[in-house]
Amino acid sequence: MRGATRTRSFYYLAAVFTAFIIFLYGPMAIIVLLSFQGPEGGLTFPMNGISVFWFERLWEGVGVIDIWRAFRRSVGLGLVVMVSTVVFSLAAGLAFRQRFFGASFVFFVVVSSLIVPSIVVSLGIGLQFQLLDNVVMWFGERYDIAYVNDEFQTTMGLFTSALGAHLTWTLPFGLLIMFAVFNRFNKAHEEAARDLGATPWQTIRFVVIPIIIPSLIGVALFGFTLSYDELARTQQAAGSTNTLPLDLQGLTTTVTTPEIYALGTVTLAVSFAIIFSTLGLVMYLQRRRSAHGTDAGEGMV
């Protein structure tokens, strides 16, 4: 199959692959380029000079929408989703190494969450909180609770309904990665720790986690980026607090200047910074590990 020389099909397939990569990145590269349009420039080529004019405009704010507040919201929510995804997936991953009541049901539900259309999940959560609001208001009237009657507006919010919606999207990825990790995990390490008198907690803290830390960082990357860019499930579940993707979607129909490209460039830059620093960190850990052997157990010394 694999001779020393390349077959002709290699070159055809390599050409297809290259075309695919250009197809993936080409459009992105073009909006980055166009975001540096001169002040007179429009939404398409030609470039009318090169400037950071549209970034300055962006910095001052896009019309009525407070884009930076949306940005801060998205980052904040992303971080919370990231931490929850890592902790919950790791814990559940550990659970799935043993048999427990309802294991296959939990697995079924998690996989379903990936394939049930986002609009359905989004609608369900929106509906749920709408009904919850009705219940809260009913209680307020019934028992004359001043706070509810005067100030209560909605239970929907960034860290209630939107957080839940995001977790239904990030956790399945996290759990599936944990499955892959523990399928390849050598249990001898744990047995050795146990033989040396480590408690279960110590085994996890000083043996298991140091070994799988690159994968946990991967789960964190999934958690943050999927949340930071999530739109379909947030749509009906975020209430009145817009995240960055929601504002971006709104801007596609209202903004007709390269300002939107500038915003796109900034968003891409944030994504790429996070992706590359994460990948760099994972590579650094792998390299250090192959140079020194695993550092599992160092924490005990």
Binding site: A14, I30, A92, R99, I115, P117, L123, A165, L167, T168
Partner: protein, 291 residues
């Protein structure tokens, strides 16, 4: 009988709680509310088939003319099928190249990541990115005018079915690549050598050995792509210039008018349609066995 494993139950509890609160309960509520009644300003607990009747109003009597609902589903099925076919062919080719033609592990990882990175960036941005290319004065039209292939700019490039399909393929081919590549990684190369030694041509090996062994990956990728497109309204909205109907869009609009019961009924039907497709696919291949 073994005692229940309490540690494991405790470990799975946070994840379980999230899915109970934000997945199971919302879906059950959706099903319940789909039988409720509503007025312009309130939803009323009830047990009525009104919402379902309204969705299918005239759908049977007016056949062979399609009612709104059937038309919308037909259009969505069309998109799903075309995007499925394109992502399958492209995803398979890319995976095949990565698996069987890239020789070193490091290079495989690097090229695979190259395909994956866009997945971690904003979908909306990736859609917007097509505007300067496909617009009436976009790069493609400028190029076509330049070489004299057309007399005036093509206007079906953007905000059309074409741009919707293009954007779908752009966004979701990765969902095909990952599972198919994963299936291919499990193929033992000696199997291919055996086929080759037995006199099979490259094409015969592909059709009779590689593709059957990739079936689980293909099925999983297909489920992902089809379910995403069936429920989509964002891509169809932005890339279709808000002109093309989709079921997701119908649900979205009904929610904005606070017609929750109607939206819920539509969601239930959509979910049923998606589940039927998945059931069909799992008949082709036993996915649980392959995970």
């Amino acid at each position: 009988m073994k005692r229940w494993n309490n540690t494991a139950l405790l470990q799975v509890a946070p994840l379980g709680a999230v899915f109970l609160l934000f997945f199971i309960v919302p879906l059950v509520l959706t099903l319940i509310v789909s039988f409720w009644d509503y007025t312009e300003y309130a939803i009323i607990p009830d047990f009525t088939f009104r919402n379902y009747q309204e969705i299918f109003e005239g759908c049977v009597t007016r056949l062979p003319d399609l009612c709104m609902t059937f038309k919308t589903y037909w259009s969505t099925f069309k998109f799903s099928f075309m995007v499925w076919l394109l992502t399958l062919v492209i995803g398979f080719t890319v995976s095949y190249f990565l698996r069987f033609h890239v020789r070193t592990m490091t290079m495989q990882v690097v090229l695979f990541l190259l395909c994956t990175i866009p997945f971690w960036t904003s979908n909306v941005i990736r859609m917007i990115a097509w505007i300067p290319l496909l617009g009436r004065n976009g790069l493609v039209n400028q190029g076509l005018l330049e070489v004299g292939l057309v007399d005036q700019g093509l206007d079906w490039l953007l905000y059309s079915e074409f741009s919707v399909i293009l954007a779908f393929v752009h966004l979701y081919t990765l969902f095909m690549i990952v599972p198919i590549f994963n299936s291919m990684l499990r193929i033992d190369e000696s199997v291919l050598e055996a086929a080759y030694d037995a006199g099979a041509s490259g094409w015969q090996t592909l059709v009779n050995v590689v593709i059957p062994l990739c079936r689980p990956g293909i099925a999983i990728g297909s489920i992902f792509v089809i379910t995403i497109i069936m429920g989509d309204f964002i891509t169809i909205g932005i890339m279709g210039g808000q002109q093309i109907a989709s079921i997701g869009k119908v649900i979205h609009v009904e929610m904005q008018y606070l017609q929750f019961p109607a939206a819920a009924a539509n969601a239930v039907i959509l979910l049923a349609a998606v589940l039927m497709i998945i059931y069909g696919l799992t008949r082709v291949v036993d996915i649980r066995k392959e995970l």
